[in-house]
């Protein structure tokens, strides 16, 4: 166990350096001449975060955008990487899978989450029921990958099945199935894992939104003779529109970036790769940083409309304030 001491020492040194830097900033802010005190404060408080974000996000984003137009040797090659992406069968499969993911995951997670939130609203044991579905949010994608590999486990037709789903298939007299190997079904089975994780997020946000819909509204609809479905359709849904948009966009962004699930469950083989995984493979395994960068750029372009939309909503809110 001697390794713990050495690792702990590194942590303590890092924290001490950090404390010293922050202390120095506070000292500068306090000692600054009165005339420029406010300016020094703004600069001092903002500088560490600003420097880190410029170096860690802004500069790399610009750099990646230029890298996307170079070949493996770093020479400019125009749009070759993009031509590769939109013509090679493997690359096209990757793009197609990403589109399937980004359509299905937000849709399914939000539907399940909404249904569940409505079903358990004011039910007995609501808190426990919520925790059970919310729990996968805390589990890493790698952990989730192992959990679901176990669920999808496959054995030959004549021996005892160890995976839950194949066990049911065999009990019903069907052939066991290799869920992760057979394209295109296998992408669906990976998507289920992501839905399993994201449903809890959708459920928690939507449940809070549903509780925010005034009881008088649903009550009035009920008195007017609306049945449960009509109440839900015409009162609850419009009442939680904002939350629905937030949930859909957040899950869409998370899905576009999905990497770990594919990486741990199939490593992108058997036609299951997605852009985020292919980007890693090209840049760090195949020695093609240009192609990797081009894929990352495509990812960014896919996310961009959502960012612009959210930024506009935010700007509107700040104007109201």
């Amino acid at each position: 166990m001697e390794f713990i001491g050495e690792k702990l020492l590194q942590v303590v040194i890092a924290l001490a350096i950090f404390a010293a830097v922050i202390g120095l900033i506070m000292l500068l802010v306090d000692r600054a001449p009165k005339s420029i005190k406010d300016k020094v404060t703004v600069a001092g408080f903002l500088a560490p975060a600003a420097i880190l974000m410029v170096v860690g996000l802004v500069y790399p984003a610009i750099r990646t955008s230029t890298l996307a137009f170079t070949d493996a040797g770093g020479n400019a090659n125009g749009f070759d990487n993009f031509v590769w992406m939109f013509t090679q069968p493997e690359a096209l499969t990757t793009l197609r899978n990403t589109v399937i993911w980004t359509v299905l995951v937000p849709l399914l997670s939000t539907s399940f989450g909404l249904a569940y939130a409505v079903f358990i609203d004011k039910a007995r044991g609501e808190k426990v029921l919520k925790s059970l579905v919310f729990m996968p949010m805390a589990i890493s994608f790698v952990g989730a990958g192992i959990i679901w590999k176990l669920v999808y486990d496959y054995r030959g037709p004549n021996i005892e099945q160890t995976g839950v789903i194949n066990f049911f298939l065999v009990s019903l007299g069907m052939e066991p199935k290799q869920f992760l190997l057979d394209a295109p079904g296998n992408t669906m089975f990976l998507i289920i894992v992501m839905v399993w994780i994201q449903t809890g997020f959708a459920m928690v946000i939507l449940s809070a939104a549903i509780k925010g819909v005034p009881v008088e509204l649903t009550e009035a609809a009920r008195l007017d003779g609306a049945n449960a479905w009509q109440q839900f359709r015409n009162v609850t849904i419009p009442g939680i529109r904002g939350a629905l948009v937030v949930v859909l966009t957040t899950i869409t962004i998370a899905t576009l970036k999905v990497f770990d699930i594919v990486r741990t469950m199939t490593a992108g083989n058997y036609d299951t790769s997605v852009v985020a995984n292919e980007m890693y493979t090209q840049a760090f395994r195949a020695g093609e940083p240009g192609r990797g960068a081009a894929l990352a750029l495509i990812l960014f372009l896919m996310v961009l409309p959502i960012v612009v939309y959210n930024a506009r909503v935010l700007r509107k809110q700040r104007e109201i304030h």
């Binding site: 408080f45 079903f119 790698v142 959502i306 935010l314």
Partner: protein, 292 residues
Amino acid sequence: MMRRVKTKLTSKWATAAAIIIAVVWSVPTFGLFVTSFRPAAKQVGPRSDGWWNAFVDWQFTIKNYADVLVPAGSQSANLSQYFVNSIAIVVPVTIFVLVLASMAAYVFAWGKFKGRDGLFIFVFALQIIPLQMALIPLLQFFTQTLQLPAGSYAQLWIAHTMFGLPLGIFLLHNFISEIPGEVIEAARVDGAGHSTIFWRIILPLSVPALASLAIFQFLWVWNDLLVALVFSGGTADVAPITQRLAEISGTRGARDYLNPAAAFVSIIIPLLVFFGLQRYFVRGLLSGGLKG
């Protein structure tokens, strides 16, 4: 009368559907938990069967856990080392992000300078730059410009802090901007400087928001694989537990029966944090989601 029966009926069906969803959602994790305690022969090989048989054929062992935790040569999972790495990575990152993000959020909420709102929206937008876009140049920057040793905590600390700041600033700003202006004004009249106001007033009042951000940051860094793959170098000196888990589960072999136990070791801390602090976690989600 008719109507009352009807609503009751639908609610019964709804409860049934909810219970089915709850069961379907929990069975996978429960299956992993049970499997992790089953002896090797029950998991692989000719005498193996599904984990649900464990309740009929009562055989449990903690040997799997001992095997993955105790270091024994390079073949062993050696998880205790990686477990410590995960903690050594997560704790400083969480502190760095909390302090730096709240400083920035304070200035964005209460500082007065030109272009403040535009800059804030820009920071918000940064949140959505895919990590993938930043990795290649950042790795080059670390190894070539800064000459940081390959495979060190420092690279992971800095990278995670960079990636965590936009969300952190956004979440904390939502909270800090709601603090009543009179409180800050009163302190200023009493002669308090910005640093005093920040440490003595803003931070203590922001504890709920800080708690939710801390949980987010903790879970996010603990569960990360991509950043670790790129920056950790993959050795037992630095790499976090998720990376080791991906490694041992990625190769099919004679020791596959250890994967469930290894996976459970890696998810136990996030689960504890999650169940212990769920209240703050939900609050953070709501302030980040509904207001944005």
